[in-house]
């Protein structure tokens, strides 16, 4: 259905169901129970799940299919965010033109950067994209915020002010980002027994777009174009010898993934109309690489899984403090309890980045194929089948090209 194989369609269906029922699934614990801190079903976090999901899906089209490791993808995210906020400032708070423009501008930038960076491959490509991203960061952070020509508003971040023109702002339209009158931050709350479920307009808009983005990525993966990209990854030299110029294909993949990043950036601004340069910093680029790797580069569902997990754990880990730890280990004898708390303390709360770094290393060292590969290994262990039985998902596993 929808031009998909049955297996892919089922995958899409799972993603649709998960995305639509997320407010229920992510809130499994009653509001006033001790476990409520593991709930993730509130709008901010759910929006992040799907938006970074889009970002990672896009990154996967480049890295997973062609094997080109871009270390500067956050630049497109930032460009998307800025364009969207500019549309809010100029036209009004409707999110549609903002998101469209963010896709277009990031596509243009991706094309420009792609033309130059894709002349080299392997490590040079990574360093070139990193250099471009750092350059964009420097530009947005300081250069483009001079009083004469203030495009990015520097450190404060670009935001909408009351005296902005907003030429197409309708009379009765809301004073916050809205989708045809539906306010993005409107949340419908539903209480069922001890549970509290929140349904947020912004989340659902992002979720629908994420599902569309996911569908598109399946189509790209299964298309002749996707096949070509995979061929480039597995042996670029041979592609050249067969008389095929690989660059238009890689450039197309780069632009598409840049547009995905721009879309994610635009949505970030749509749910919270504030764009800052820190979104473009190379740590942000590193994060999307990690999301993709964690889930499984080159697999369809991997990036979505990875981004969800990372954003979830980022949120949960940052919330845990010493008191929480003490209450967890209170069943142990005092000495051991203190020891456990001291051991775990550096990894939680403000130490989330340490956990992230360790996780990153562990994944790259032991599970280069990410969680999807891990799942397949477990499945194989249970069913006792040989690796040869695994289908094409296996073939698309990450062995990034040089």
């Amino acid at each position: 259905m929808l031009g998909l194989h049955k297996k892919d369609f089922n995958l899409l269906l799972i993603v649709v169901v998960l995305a639509m029922l997320a407010p229920f699934i992510l809130n499994p614990f009653p509001e006033n129970s001790g476990l409520a801190q593991f709930n993730a079903g509130y709008p901010d976090l759910m929006q992040k799940f799907v938006i970074f999901g889009i970002f990672a899906i896009g990154f996967n089209i480049l890295f997973g299919l062609t094997g080109y490791l871009s270390f500067g993808h956050a630049a497109f995210l930032g460009i998307g965010s800025y364009s969207c906020v500019w549309m809010f400032k100029l036209l009004g708070y409707s999110v549609v033109p903002g998101i469209l423009l963010s896709i277009v501008t990031s596509g243009i930038f991706a094309w420009l950067i792609g033309i130059i960076s894709l002349r080299r491959s392997g490590i040079y490509f990574s360093i070139l994209t990193l250099a471009f991203a750092q350059m964009s960061f420097a530009l947005c952070y300081s250069v483009l915020s001079n009083p004469k020509f203030n495009l990015t508003n520097g450190e404060t971040g670009l935001q909408v002010y009351n005296n902005d023109p907003q030429y197409f702002r309708g009379e009765g339209s809301p004073n916050v980002p809205h989708f045809f009158g539906m306010e993005m931050n409107a949340t419908h709350k539903m209480e069922l027994g001890g549970w509290l479920f929140q349904f947020n307009t912004g989340y659902y808009l992002c979720a629908v777009i994420m599902v569309l983005a996911f569908y598109l990525s399946i189509r790209i993966f299964r298309s002749p174009f996707g096949m070509m990209l995979r061929a480039i990854k597995s042996n670029n030299t041979r592609m050249n010898y067969t008389g095929l110029n690989a660059r238009p294909y890689t450039l197309a993949a780069f632009v598409i993934s840049g547009m995905y990043a721009g879309l994610a950036g635009g949505l970030l601004s749509a749910v919270d109309p504030l764009a800052g340069a820190e979104r473009m910093q190379w740590t942000a680029s590193g994060e999307v690489v990690l999301m993709t790797i964690l889930g499984g580069a080159g697999t369809l569902i991997g990036p979505v899984l990875g981004s969800g997990l990372i954003k979830y754990f980022e949120n949960i880990f940052s919330k845990i403090n010493d008191n929480v730890l003490h209450s967890w280990f209170s069943f142990m004898p005092d000495g051991i309890e203190d020891l456990m708390v001291t051991l775990i303390h550096p990894f939680v709360g403000k130490g989330w980045h340490l956990t992230l770094g360790v996780l990153f290393m562990l994944i790259v060292i032991f599970l280069p194929g990410g969680l999807v590969e891990g799942g397949q290994r477990i499945k194989r262990l249970i069913s006792g089948k040989k690796a040869a039985d695994e289908t094409e998902d296996e073939a698309t596993q990450s062995t990034p090209a040089e």
């Binding site: 002349r119 990193l130 250099a131 750092q134 350059m135 300081s142 360790v358 290393m361």
Partner: protein, 343 residues
């Protein structure tokens, strides 16, 4: 003319840091073929060696001095560093004052050990893996090292002053025949330049004039053949990794008085050092050094008021622009050799 000389001098200290880090990166890349994203973290750890030593020296105990009173009228509490108590006040004070240069001695064994552990414990397992995996694992390691330092030392920069005698500035004008006060330059930065020149010279001499260095160079050119001759090249490459780590560490130690060390200084330098390596030519040691100084000086010229008023923000992006132009016109970098890191 004097302005030009001043800008060149200004560029030298940053250029020295770039050159030292890029030298280490190239050493690792040339010998082991690994792209080390954690090299900036090594630079940062070096700087924190200086911080640690100065903290150790200023560890002190409290004595209550009955003869003096503080402003509340209570007996004055005097902090006396242990080193002053042990070695006498003068030696002690001198030790504290000279903690940064002394940290050089302190940091070398630490950095070499860290280098060995990194190579044997982690990077060894990544020789056969794709470059992307090497980048990612060292990137993860860089985050981990950075966060560990942040955990123990906090997120704020820790000022680590140079010894008193080097703290001032030196007026070059008389020496060069300009107006007085036209070319003034901090003494410590000059020392940093001299120091890095020394280190670079030492590394080159080591590779050029010792048997060990000869074997390493042979290994860089053709690892397999050297192995077939019955030489344990892996062991030597591990030692080279240790040396590269020490070079980065020393660059960091001496940089501590110029910029107060904070946990992310390594990353700030790393990105630029990569650009330097690429501009210089991957795998070329002289290229890395030359490009380091070149880009450092270029950056300082771009920071002049004249340049920033002509093209606003040029100082922020000049290095990247130059790198992009060079990579497009000379894809192997300034001094890159054929066959290194081609696809």
């Amino acid at each position: 003319m004097d302005a030009i000389i001043l800008q060149i001098l200004n560029g030298l200290d940053k250029g020295s840091a770039y050159a030292l880090i890029a030298l280490g990166l190239t050493l690792i890349f040339g010998t082991l073929g690994v792209v080390n994203f954690a090299h900036g973290a090594l630079f940062m750890i070096g700087a924190f060696c200086a911080v640690t030593l100065s903290k150790i020296f200023s560890l002190s105990y409290e004595v209550i001095d009955e003869s003096q009173t503080d402003f509340l009228g209570n007996p004055l509490k005097v902090q006396t560093p242990y080193v002053e108590a042990w070695f006498g006040p003068e030696t002690g004070a001198a030790l504290i004052d000279w903690s940064v240069p002394l940290a050089i001695l302190f940091s070398i064994p630490i950095m070499i050990t860290i280098g060995f552990i990194m190579e044997r414990g982690l990077i060894k397992h990544f020789y056969k893996r794709p470059h992307a995996d090497q980048i990612l694992v060292t990137f993860g390691l860089a985050i981990v090292l950075q966060e560990i330092i942040k955990y123990y030392y906090g997120a704020n920069p820790i000022p680590t002053p140079a010894p008193d005698v080097f703290r001032g500035s030196y007026d070059f004008s008389a020496m060069l025949g300009f107006e007085p006060n036209s070319v003034i330059y901090p003494v410590w930065r000059l020392i940093y330049f001299a120091f890095s020149a020394l280190i670079i010279g030492a590394v080159f001499a080591f590779l050029q004039f010792t048997t060990f260095g000869m074997v390493v160079r042979a290994g860089m050119a053709d690892r397999e053949t050297v192995g077939l001759l019955g030489i344990n090249i892996d062991k030597r490459f591990t030692i080279m990794f240790g040396i590269a780590a020490a070079v980065a560490g020393l660059a960091g130690v001496m940089y501590a008085p110029i910029n107060a060390p904070n946990y992310h200084m390594g990353m700030d330098f790393l990105v630029l050092s990569f650009v330097v390596v690429v501009v210089g030519g991957m795998g070329s040691l002289p290229g890395a050094v030359a490009a380091g100084f070149l880009l450092g000086i270029l950056e300082s010229f771009a920071s002049t008021t004249w340049a920033t008023t002509t093209i606003p923000g040029i100082n922020q992006i000049i290095i990247y622009l130059v790198a992009i132009i060079i990579l497009l016109t000379r894809p192997r970098g300034l001094m890159g050799k054929k066959g290194v890191m081609e696809e």
